[in-house]
Amino acid sequence: MNTVLRALSFRLIQAGGVALVVGVMSFLMMQAMPGDMAYRIAAARYGYDLVSADLADAVRAELRLEAGPFAQFLRWMGDLAQLDMGRSLVSGQPVWQEIAHQLGASLQLAAAAMGLSMLIGPPLGIFAGLHPGGWFDRVLLVVAAGFRAVPQFLLGLVLIVVLAVQLRLLPAAGHGSLAHFVLPALTLALGLAAASARIARDAMAAVAASPHYAFARAKGLTEAQILRRHGLRNIAAPLVTYLGLQFVMLAEGVVVVETIFGWPGIGHALIHAVFHRDVPMVQGTALVMGLGFVLLNAVVDLIVRHIDPREVQA
């Protein structure tokens, strides 16, 4: 049990590190912010047509920007210490609410894409890994490299044109119904599956070449029995670790797909926040994404520890 505690305390320290890094980055951002922050926020709030010196002055007064970056930084960090991420400078909504909505949409899409990719990638990888060097293995290597090299927006466009415009099977874009999930999730899943197929392939090849796999054969088990009883569990640990990592990479890779398919999401929110210098939003998003990563890793740690109880070298 104390190994679990040790792993969790490591994640806690990591969470602290994340908060610190986000804090320092935010401070640097504040320092680097040109003097016209008020103009930028005004432009974001009211639309570029309506920005004027008067509006900028009003924003400056409202947000107490005159106090200088250091004072603002302290104020924001102080709020954060009380678990208050503040309000968006642009919309005036609590950062918390905005993130919850947008991150939720991103996570839904990411989860759908992950689920789909797991149906495609690992089975192909396992099959290739059982016959390393065979024709299927070599074809998979090239096909996987190809799918990883296709820009996602292109894949998305092709899917829209074929499945939505030509065949009219699915909605082209938008958010709200189950049918809206299919195309963006598929776009993401193909790239993800290409990557996870490789990981599954390498893990499977390593396990299949291991002495214990050979011994299982010597014991008289059939290949299917060996795969089920000694293969899957042994490749699960590296695969789950990788899928955890992939989920995070997905959360950011999703931004391109989000814009193509008109999906609300965290990547989208982050780009807007950075572009509009909405510091509390940037800070809040960074913090939530960073801590989400830590949390996810803690969960992955626990799962992997359950699958493979050997002491994992840190």
Binding site: V18, P151, G290
Partner: protein
């Protein structure tokens, strides 16, 4: 191994194109003639013209130069920092190791997109922001790789033998560590460059990357995307260039020993 050789072949071909094409190019990437917008190939512009009548040949070459230069610079910087820190952490151990590991773990938790965007705010120049942001994301991988390789190899009999024979840390790094991590680095660097190129193009595509009229693959795609039915070949060029580049790097990185 053939996949890897194919990858190297494609990469070298693209680099040659990027380096050599602008030498014999009469138009340059910015010269426009609106009347030739989206028209086909001719002697002065072998790949045709874009929506503003600029030479696709020239723009493609410059875009490839930019992507390759930025991606290689960022990855090289990341590798240098990561390897140095990784070697330092495993050599000195103790609190230096713990501090560097915590820094790496914390930065790892921040999504790459965030890092690049934040650098974009802190640094005013976009290429500089890409370079710094991508390097800040990638050094962690090199750090972890070097650190774990160094930890196992510094405790190996070969390293102990070297110490007993009076060799210093530099010899051990050069003769034992470097030859071991070198091949792994090839993979990591190839993936790093591929990811950087993809990131630059993706950010260009969502309009937060390089700014027009700079020729950049993602930006060219987004500019030509509206005309994808009128002039599919114009759009296909940056797409193919990007695809080939990434494919080459993925094949190099994915090759098995």
């Amino acid at each position: 191994m053939t996949a890897s050789r194919l990858g190297w072949g494609l990469l070298v071909a693209l680099i040659c194109f990027a380096l050599l094409a602008p030498l014999g190019d009469p138009l340059g990437p910015f010269r426009q003639s609106l009347t030739k917008a989206l028209s086909g190939a001719e002697a002065a512009a072998p790949f045709g013209y874009d929506h503003l009548g600029r030479s696709m040949f020239s723009r493609l070459a410059h875009a490839l130069r930019l992507s390759l230069l930025l991606a290689f610079a960022a990855t090289a910087t990341a590798a240098a920092i990561g390897i140095a820190f990784g070697a330092l952490a495993s050599w000195r151990a103790g609190w230096i190791d713990r501090a560097l590991s915590l820094l790496a773990d914390s930065m790892l938790a921040l999504p790459a997109l965030l890092m690049v965007l934040m650098m974009g705010v802190i640094l005013s120049s976009t290429p500089l922001a890409f370079w710094a942001g991508l390097a800040a994301v990638q050094w962690i991988e090199f750090f972890r790789l070097t650190r774990s390789a160094a930890r196992s190899h510094l405790a190996s009999p070969a390293a102990v033998a070297a110490t007993l024979q009076g060799f210093g840390p530099i010899w051990i790094f050069r003769r034992i560590l470097w030859p071991e991590i070198g091949p792994m680095l090839r993979t990591t660097i190839a993936f790093g460059v591929a990811n950087s190129i993809a990131a630059i193009a993706a950010l260009g595509f969502v309009s937060v990357g390089m700014r027009a009229p700079t020729p950049e693959l993602g930006l060219m795609m987004v500019e030509l995307l509206p005309s994808w039915r009128e002039a599919p070949f114009a759009l296909l060029q940056p797409v193919l260039a990007c695809f080939t580049l990434l494919l080459a790097l993925n094949l190099i990185a994915g090759a098995r020993k």
